[in-house]
Amino acid sequence: MRHFITVGILVLIAAALTYFGLTAAGLMPVEASVQSISIDWLFNYEVMAISFLFALIVVPLFYSLVVFRRRKGETGEGQYFEGNTPLEIGWTIAPLFIVIAFAYMGSYSLSDIRRVDPNATEIKVTGSQWAWKFEYPNYGVTSNELHLIVNQQVNLKMESTDVLHSFFVPEFRMKQDLVPGRVTEYRVTPSLIGSYKVRCAEICGTSHAYMEAPVIVTSAKDFDAWIKTQNAPAADPVANGKKLVANNGCLGCHTVDGSKLVGPTWKGLYGSQVLLADGSTVTADDAYLKESITNPTAKVVKDYPPVMPPFALKDQEIADIIAYIATLK
């Protein structure tokens, strides 16, 4: 009996220390969405249960190793008992209740984070290897940054053009896969002004690690200001080209600093001699670059895979992009 009381006290102490130790360590990133509050609420109870159950097993284990160890010169066997059916039934039934309680809390938390605000703004999200694109149908704006208004629910309608991707913002605590051939939904109510990042969480090929884009939560006023800058056409073709390049995900495969990704770098490309897969060479002039954007497989550069999809852009836009590429010496 003395052993049981000692172990009982030690279990409670160990459980409390484990729980406070874990929570003091700061387990989660900041809470930046209304949904994250509900998720962290549930997770906190789970950490509590984990701490208790961990202590409940580990403390008697180590206690036994010390108290019931075979001492020097000792012979003989342990105490003979084969089992105890009421005890076995007890530790089958008790966890069943805990499990059902957590499943209930899980369902509650799930319904909480999926709560629909009828006034939620829709934003179209497109994932492709290896870039994010965000379209605001209400404003006619397309961007490679996701700007959100604090405390207003948005409903992201997400599509993928190629393989699976996953929209994950750790500070929002949620992720949702993008699946080719269907539209998936991600509802979130940002609650903290700040700058975060969406990071692709479903492996999508070579540059998966770099498939990230800024997520900026702002006040309504700052959001309107941002929309205005997006709508104003850039007077400078180079600046406009730079924006188009970012928004169309070109930089997922092409670099501007000379390093090598899936596609050839643009640094020093304009006007250079390009060696093609069929052994011929071509000068990278306006006509070649335009063809490589609208019909990429027509002339494939040697040692690069013919994987680039054709881009349907306006002539002026292509001219701006070429103007931008020409500045990359």
């Binding site: 989660m28 998720i39 549930l42 997770f43 789970e46 984990i50 961990f54 097993i57 580990v58 036994s64 190793l65 019931f68 160890r69 075979r70 000792e74 003989g76 066997e77 342990g78 105490q79 003979y80 008992f81 084969e82 005890l87 076995e88 966890p95 499990v99 957590f102 499943a103 809390m105 899980g106 369902s107 938390s109 799930l110 909480d112 984070i113 999926r114 393989v163 699976l164 996953s166 750790p170 949620m174 992720k175 949702q176 896969d177 993008l178 080719p180 051939g181 269907r182 990071r199 692709c200 969480a201 479903e202 999508c204 070579t206 998966h208 690690a209 990230e212 390093s259 090598k260 990704l261």
Partner: protein
Amino acid sequence: MKRFFSSALARGLFWQFVGTLVGAGLITGIRALMGLSVTDKFFFTEPAWVLGGFFGVLFFMVGTGVTDDWIKWARGIDTPDHHEDRFEGWEKYVNVSLDHKVIGAQYAITSLALICIGGLFALIFRVELAQSQLQFLTTDLNLFGQNGPQLYNTLMSLHGMIMIVSILLGIAGMINYIVPLLLGAQDMSFPRLNAFSYWIAVPAAVLLLMSLVLGGFDTGWTGYPPLSARAPVGMQMFFLGVFTAGWSSILGALNTIVTVVRMRAKGMTAFKMPIFVWSAVATSIIALTATQLIGLSFQLVMFQRLFGMGFFDPAKGGNPILFQHLFWFYSHPAVYVFILPGLGIISELLPVFVRKPLFGYRWIAMSSMAIALVGFLVWAHHMFTSGMNEYLRVPFMYSTLLVAIPTGVKFFSWIATIWGGKITTPTPMLFVLAGIVVFLMGGLSGPPNATVSVDLHLHDTYFIVGHFHDTIFGGFVFPFFAALYYWFPKATGRRMNETLGKIHFWLMTPSFLVLTLGMMRIGLLGMRRRIVDYDPAMGFDSTHMVLTIAGFLIALSVLIFLYNFFNSIKNGEKAEGNLWNSRSPEWQVPSPMPAHNYEIPFEVVGEPYDYGLADAPYTKFMKPETGKHN
């Protein structure tokens, strides 16, 4: 050396090479006649490589001679029931043997070899991960047609699948060696099928490694389409390798079940079987009935690539999420295939070292069956973020959490077994105890992934990576080492060095705990799985450096183990008696075990784990006149 080149292993590998060329040549010839392209980036075209890989496996199996008896039977030629081993020493293990103990050892050694390869891959990418930015797997690298990040993806994916195959071989090794001895059987029920199950795993491993040099693949071990439908030709070798390894698993499981049903000693009723046999049966039931689904799902992607059948291609009316359902219908129960034998080892060894009966034997036995059953009902918890129907997520949350109940029964029963014992802690017991603690950490980090809303954060992060490394090390790696230290004297008549064993243990265990706790920590903070590089702004650099150091310490401890293992075969301290003072039948006869096991059969007259009860033997060896074979 000459004797190695004439061994079945060398012959098989030679014929696999020939078969690959024949298969690839056949397709290339047909393509040439049809006017299609005959060469590609990796010399042969993709269809040629696939048929080559397939032919390679067939040629390997015939080349080793493992199918000789079946071919003779088909031609009407009789063969003896038993083949006496023609080889001695190491040669026995590189040639075809029908003795379950030799096959068990072959499985275990192949498993260790694959653990070394998979571990080496892990060390390579752990070095890359030690710091943010790319250090040596850079975009300028070009190895096997892959740049650095692509090579990272290949190594990371292969680490997963090579380790899974090594686990399957490891559990098959334990089951093959131990189960017939525990049952009092002369061998497995189908010795030739048993040899076939082992040998087919070898060309499977070769195919998996071939994927590394054929452009690799970047999907992770899960091989989700559409990415897997676009990956280089290495993807096909991976699919074919897994498909082939599946045969080993299915046939081995079939053999185990029949052996347990048909070949138990006299008096060994179901609840008098040693507890490990229960877990072997539970694991075999899963492997026998679920493995087909991973083979099928991979085969469908193979056909999508080869024949343009759009099973998972939305443009052709296919559905990428269907693949995930098929895949996880095996791959979740598979996790229980990996851990149940290890949990059986824990239950089997605890009573020996605490000198007390196993607490709640029937409950532990039934909990294995319950885990196997519930394991079939939980697969979609891997898909909470996949875009499947939202409402499916709730029933799968309930069923997944139910797994905690039979698992809890095991933990509580183990603690009650230890309570009030007379505990000693030689090396096997240390690994058993660490197995319990590590598996507990794996078990407790599971339920947060089961509750949907929390999983939306945890899914595809390092939290999951830490969680399953805990379950696999606790449920397989630690018990596997315990079993190797424990039964080594039975196989060799010598024991492994105890000091080196303890160094192995005290080096590996703390390093491993640091590794997985660190993984879970950064995972909660947002570190994604399967990335070659991470944002330095997240501040994970120092943690990753610690994880890399911990990984290298684990590798060092395994090297110490390997030295101890191979050195002790010849130079270990003699241990021919009942070294651990066990009640189990195999320890009642001298080590090493003779070729056809028990020269005098035994019958079961008591309970298996009545330690501490006087005059209550488990087995009684029959008088010779009652018959040599039972």
